[in-house]
């Protein structure tokens, strides 16, 4: 039995959806993309071209919910299914689109460049806790026009895992799909076995921007998976009540799915988000707040009630360094996400409200994820009798059970063995290994991983075509040469 966290009962879920449908009619959704408005109008929605406000009747949404797939998969470089969106599958990926990286020696949040993203990719590639890569930070050593697709370029070169990504413009989304197709051996292969999913964001409250709606349409028509990242900020860009924020989230997702399915029925899309409460002291968006996790868990329950795949941003923190706050907020977030059965939980590695990535935090968060996954694995009946069978020949000695064959057989299944970042040593052992704190152990672990990493072997002709494709875009953006990459120097 997979343990589940349920913050809502059925009656409350029904009320949330009922009010979300009301919001779709009044005040309606502001759709700033002409093509999306046209699709909605043709389907029977009432469109005011002057204000761009669209009132969407419930039955149009119902039709979309009938055609949207309840389940789909992402594949690795070799075409093996690795990530399952749907049901209660839980998977994790690093947080996306940070702008800086924590330098462990100085604790500086340094503006991120190629080499920083490569470090993060290598660490995430080596840790089994991360089911997918993300395009984790923006590299500032390339021109702005390349910011989104260049992240994907580096992930494609340094990883084989599935990828959670996203485009920054309606033009680059096509270029990024081209890049995926180059390695997949064509767009048809890429669509049939998608390696990546694209995050698409509505703007709170209740707005689908020209860009957001444009992405929905482009991805739907290409058949590439889309992930709605709705971001109600409870108390500022959404009602202050957690349930109010969950309801707004539902309205934004329902309208997004409707536009998406009208563009191409049957294309895969995910009920996801990155909501937060609005912090009334500092005016920030705390992703480590427990109420943020409560909104996530609740909207996931709403999405599941509709039979949809789910996503959330959890496991991040407002802490600026890898300290106790970082650990407790990230660990709690990961556990809430896992217990909520959320299919893709993004946010690991992130400090400072999703602004700063840290490889050291990635290895630490991986331990929290492993614990959360263990808990979700649940209580198991391994033996015919729960206990009585263990007492045969017991001498009432403390160590008796250590000498049982069944102990040796089952202990690895019952106990998750933490990695070197977690300390369970005696005082003596801890002192002898240098009296290291979590951060230092994490730094050592990162060094180990980086030393043992080797870049995956990709088809050389594909690599060269991909490099030329990105180089060509770089030249158009005024950059003659791409940043030099240590492990990748094709002729």
């Amino acid at each position: 039995m997979q343990p589940k966290l349920s913050l809502l009962d059925e009656a409350l879920i029904a009320r949330i959806l009922e009010e979300a449908y009301q919001l779709l009619l009044d005040p309606g959704i502001k759709v700033q993309n002409a093509e999306a408005r046209q699709l909605l109008a043709e389907a029977g929605a009432q469109v005011d071209e002057a204000t761009m406000i669209v009132r969407i009747p419930e039955q149009i949404v119902h039709r979309a919910l009938e055609t949207v797939p309840g389940e789909f998969q992402l594949y690795d470089y070799e075409g093996n299914p690795k990530v399952r969106y749907g049901g209660d599958a839980i998977q994790f990926d690093p947080g996306s689109s940070g702008i800086s990286i924590l330098i462990p020696e100085t604790l500086e949040h340094k503006t991120a460049e190629s080499e920083d993203l490569i470090r993060i990719i290598k660490v995430a590639e080596s840790l089994p806790q991360y089911d997918a890569q993300s395009t984790a930070i923006v590299c500032h050593d390339v021109p702005k026009d390349l910011h989104d697709l260049y992240r994907l370029y580096l992930v494609l070169l340094y990883s084989k895992k599935p990828i959670v990504t996203g485009a920054f413009t309606n033009k680059t989304v096509h270029q990024m799909m081209d890049m995926l197709a180059i390695l997949a051996g064509g767009h048809e292969n890429s669509r049939r076995k998608p390696r990546a999913i694209f995050d698409v964001c509505p703007s709170p409250p209740l707005i689908w921007s020209n860009f957001g709606a444009g992405q929905l349409i482009a991805l739907a028509r290409a058949g590439m998976p889309a992930e709605i990242v709705s971001m109600p900020l409870a108390g500022a860009a959404a009602p202050v009540t957690l349930l109010g924020a969950v309801t707004q989230h539902a309205a934004e997702c329902l309208s997004g799915i409707t536009i998406h399915q009208l563009a191409q029925a049957g294309s895969p899309i995910v009920w996801g988000g990155a909501p937060a409460i609005f912090d009334m002291r500092k005016g920030g968006t705390p992703f480590g707040a427990i109420e943020t996790a409560m909104i996530d868990s609740s909207y996931a329950q709403v999405g599941k009630s509709l039979g949809l795949p789910t996503h959330a941003y959890l496991g991040a923190t407002e802490a600026k360094v890898l300290d106790t706050q970082a650990g407790l907020e990230s660990g709690m977030g990961a556990l809430v996400g896992a217990l909520s059965g959320i299919n893709m939980i993004s946010g690991s590695g992130m400090l400072d409200s999703l602004l700063c990535q840290s490889p050291e935090k990635l290895v630490t968060d991986a331990e929290g994820i492993a614990m959360a996954k263990r808990m979700v694995d649940g209580m198991k009946v391994h033996t015919e009798t729960l206990a009585t069978g263990f007492y045969e020949g017991v001498n009432f000695k403390g160590g008796d059970f250590l000498k049982q064959k069944i102990t040796m057989k089952l202990f690895r299944e019952e106990q998750h063995m933490p990695g070197k970042v977690i300390d369970r040593d005696s005082m003596r052992g801890w002192r002898e290994s240098g009296s290291l704190d979590t951060f230092t152990r994490a730094r050592n672990r990162v060094k180990e991983i980086l030393a043992s990493y080797s870049r995956p072997e990709l088809a050389p002709d594909h690599e060269a075509v991909l490099r030329d494709y990105v180089l060509n875009l770089a030249k158009q953006a005024g950059m003659e040469r791409l940043p030099e990459l240590k492990e990748f120097q094709p002729v």
Partner: protein
Amino acid sequence: MSEELETLFKQMAQSIIDGDSDISVELAQKSIEMNIPPLDAITKGFVVGVNYIGDQFGLGEAFLPELVMAGEAMKAAVATLEPELLKLGEARETMGKVVLATVEGDIHEIGKTLVGTMLSASGFEVTDLGVDQPADKIIGKAIEIGASIVGMSALLTTTMVRQREVIEEMDKEGLRPKIKVMVGGAPITREWATKIKADGYSEDAVGAVKLAKDLVGKGDA
């Protein structure tokens, strides 16, 4: 070494690594039937497995159940070979003999049992008296087997004083410094060990092995 013999030694080591007493005993019997010197069977066969598991444990790659089961399989194999050793008048060269006990009035023993397992796995010959052992029993056994080390455990602040009584009694009988004393248990500190004039203390089983080796002058082994 013949190929057959080499394979047998490898199987012996593997039976210890697998923690399988049935197989280790079976292989010990087979070696007797094949007229293999029992010391060879131990040192070239079984001990190789014990060392391997011990190393893996030290690296964090093997875990306590594997270590304990390896110790049990080793014990069973040696017990099978012991009569042959006696017949030949040979003695197994060990790191030293150790008497372990939890002191009188105290019934906690998981820590002590672990220390015993780890010491056995490291080549010591361990006699574990169990829990609630009065001073005369501990000292009597140490004299009887010619122990080089007495190890005492206590988990309670009320029973740790018994460690001092045993040491004082051993001093009175002139058994020290020939027999070294090491102490352990949750309330035991370095200060306490110094105060009662113990030869050493460790707060965990890995440290106890290191300490025991130092005490018998084989710290490099």
